[in-house]
Amino acid sequence: MSYIPGQPVTAVVQRIEIHKLRDGNNLILGFSIGGGIDQDPSQNPFSEDKTDKGIYVTRVTKGGPAEVAGLMMGDKIMQVNGWDMTMVTHDQARKRLTKKNEDVVRLLVTRKSLEEAVRQSMMQH
């Protein structure tokens, strides 16, 4: 996802609704995240742009709630329940995702394949 500094970022996003799995006191989301503005973005294996400090999905548990909802490894999380995730620290993102009083998280994610699909469909018309 490339952008020109100062210009609004446009991205093709997908809405994903994850119903957390309750396991005792734990709420299981079934995925892992990496990144955040406090982390070295150049080590992110998923980002195209190595300066992108966004939150990325690094792992999705097979059969877990996240996979059921359609989350994929390498997705970039843009929003969580309406909260911006493109300019947050790693811990802030984790906090936001693992709220105990929320059984459902609604994500906006973007991924390369999404953008390509949209581009292709636009070319056809």
């Binding site: 990144g35 982390q39 973005p41």
Partner: protein, 608 residues
């Protein structure tokens, strides 16, 4: 038809023979048209490109002169405007706001220009102050000069601020700039090398003016008359001379480009190495567990003496290996224990139990071994064989029932309650104390128990405590046993383990046993109202644990097997003390008083 053929003839003739094939001819006609249009477009495009290039050149030239790019510079979408550098003194960028909107207000402009100049002067003076290898007198005078300039700068800032307020401009920009500038000049005056030459000149000139120099010196050093006129007496007094517009050199000094200072600004948030974190654990918990795992166990290990020596001190030489072995098997085969965090709590509590131990007799011991000991024992309740019993309640109850069957039945029915009641008061109190602390950290209790046993050289009574069930976590069921140590117990283990059918037989006896055993614990409940909550927690946790265990009963069986293999290795009587619960028949045969009382949560076990 004729016409069409004619057209096709006039053309290149490739499709000549196609003759009457009308569609092809039509397309051919169109193609010639498009070709012509294309050519025309091409030439137009070329011309446009040339024009654009020319315009660009002009724009850039203009920008080089004025210092800012003209707005009709042709930019392709996504293209960045080129970096423009002013030709003269390319290291500096003019501050547009103070120079371009000339028409706005002359007074404010002039004061702003003065302020900008004063900043330069001040930084130069400041740099001079910090020059090395100066004689004291020179340094003193320079410091004075610096202060003087600073004072002026502040006055100017104030006046600019006032003016700004008057004219309703919102942002007191120069103030910000000065701060920034101070920053850079303070930490490394040599960093902005591009500015250096010119600033050197200004600084020298200011220096020259400060230490009344000869006129020749002045001339040789000072770059321009305007600067000289500024310095000596407050520039506020000479506004017309200070107007920067006619003179280029001072203008350049107005705002030396800010990029260096921006570049050296550290990022507000430092990057940490990229990591990922699973979202399956609650937020705080994960953090803590991480810290505890790093802080508690590895931290204590390196400082401690070897394990052997610690163990020898408490005569537990052989006991520990068993538990460590158990621990390994357990960790590999059971479902992950749900109470890891509780274990953490325990480990945190261990140090606090140390003073209590100190109060007891063993003062001579060093801190290291004791801590090691607690560390080791801390793990035992969790992995103690009885865990299996709880996980698989049939085994648990049967183990005792098999015992009861093999030992004389009356000993069972009578001993638990009666013995306990007949127990000396002090002993009960001691046990009560154990219970209390035990409730929070059973490991601590076990620890104390070991201490006692090691301290009493020839004890008549051993007070055994076993934390049963999920041990460290909750006191699901506990046993307190008094008995005399008997060395000949080994065969018993095999016996007990090699006759699994017995377990099943004894199943019906459970309720009876429980009834007996639970009475004392209830008494204790009354004494400790604080237990109510943990009990709930226990039951909750236990239920989930059971659910998991039922999913994989085989792993539990395997653990039992592992334990059999482990146990016979231990020859020392002390090592057996830890396993009273399955030694009961032997004990009763020895006519040792055996006391059982099992606590509250036994009922949960029986429920499942």
């Amino acid at each position: 038809m004729e016409a069409k053929e004619e057209i096709s003839d006039t053309d290149s003739g490739i499709i000549l023979h196609s003759g009457l094939d009308s569609p092809i001819i039509v397309t051919k006609d169109v193609s010639t048209h498009t070709r012509a249009v294309k050519l025309k477009r091409q030439s137009l495009q070329d011309r446009l490109e040339l024009c654009i290039l020319e315009l660009k050149k002009l724009c850039i030239r203009e920008a080089e002169l004025t210092g800012h790019l003209c707005s009709d510079y042709p930019l392709l979408p996504g293209e960045k405007p080129p970096q423009i550098r002013k030709r003269i003194g390319a290291a500096f960028k003019l501050d547009e706001q103070s120079i371009l909107p000339r028409d706005e207000d002359s007074e404010l402009c002039s004061v702003e220009a003065k302020l900008a100049l004063q900043q330069q002067i001040y930084t130069a003076a400041h740099r001079l102050c910090h020059e090395e290898h100066l004689s004291k007198a020179v340094k003193k005078s320079r410091v004075q000069q610096c202060k003087h300039e600073e004072q002026k700068l502040k006055e100017l800032q104030d006046s600019v601020f006032q003016l700004r307020l008057e004219y309703g401009r919102s942002s007191p920009r120069p103030c910000i700039i000065t701060q920034k500038h101070h920053g850079t000049s303070d930490n490394s005056s040599l960093s902005d090398s591009a500015v250096l030459d010119e600033e050197e000149l200004t600084s020298q000139s200011s220096q020259a003016s400060s230490e009344p120099p000869s006129i020749t010196e002045l001339h040789s050093v000072a770059p321009g008359p305007s600067l000289l006129s500024l310095n000596p007496s407050g520039p506020l007094l000479h506004p017309p001379e200070l107007r920067p517009s006619p003179h280029q050199p001072p203008l350049e000094h107005l705002h030396p480009c800010h990029s260096p200072s921006l570049e050296y600004d550290p990022a507000p948030i430092q990057n940490s190495p990229w990591k990922e974190s699973s979202l399956d654990q609650p937020y705080q918990k994960q953090k803590k567990s991480h810290s505890s795992s790093t802080s508690s166990s590895p931290a204590s290990c390196p400082t401690l003496p070897p394990l052997e020596t610690c163990l020898e001190e408490v005569d537990l030489k052989l006991q520990i290996p068993k538990h460590t072995a158990l621990r390994h098997t357990q960790s590999s085969s059971t479902p992950s224990t749900p109470e890891m965090h509780l274990r953490r709590v325990l480990s945190l509590r261990v140090p606090s139990s140390d003073p209590a131990n100190n109060a007891e007799r063993d003062r001579g011991r060093s801190r290291g071994p004791r801590r090691r000991l607690t560390d080791v024992i801390l793990k035992t309740p969790e992995y103690s064989p009885i865990t299996l019993a709880v996980g698989n309640p049939v085994h648990h109850s049967s183990s005792e029932d098999s015992n009861s069957e093999h030992s004389s039945a009356p000993s069972y029915t009578s001993s638990p309650c009666q013995e306990l009641l007949a127990e000396p008061e002090q002993l009960r109190q001691a046990q009560h104390r154990y219970h209390y602390s035990n409730h929070i950290s059973p490991s601590y209790v076990t620890h104390r128990y070991y201490k006692n046993s090691s301290a009493q050289l020839s004890p008549k009574l051993y007070r055994g405590y076993i934390d049963e069930g999920r041990g460290h976590d909750m006191d699901l069921s506990r046993m307190y046993i008094r008995h005399q140590p008997s060395p000949c117990i080994n065969g018993h283990y095999e016996y007990w383990y090699e006759e699994p059918p017995l377990y099943q037989q004894g199943g019906r006896l459970i309720p009876h046993h429980l009834k007996l055993s639970r009475a004392p614990s209830l008494k204790e409940y009354a004494q400790h109202p604080g237990r109510a909550l943990p009990r709930q927690v226990v039951s909750d946790e236990l239920k989930s644990w059971h659910q998991r265990c039922q999913l994989r009963p085989r792993s539990l069986d395997r653990q039992g097997a592992v334990r059999i293999r482990n146990l016979p290795l231990h020859e020392s009587p002390l090592s057996h003390r830890h396993d009273f619960y399955d030694q009961v028949p032997q004990r009763t045969a020895d006519r040792t008083p055996v006391k059982w009382y099992e606590e509250e949560d036994q009922e949960i076990v029986s429920q499942v």
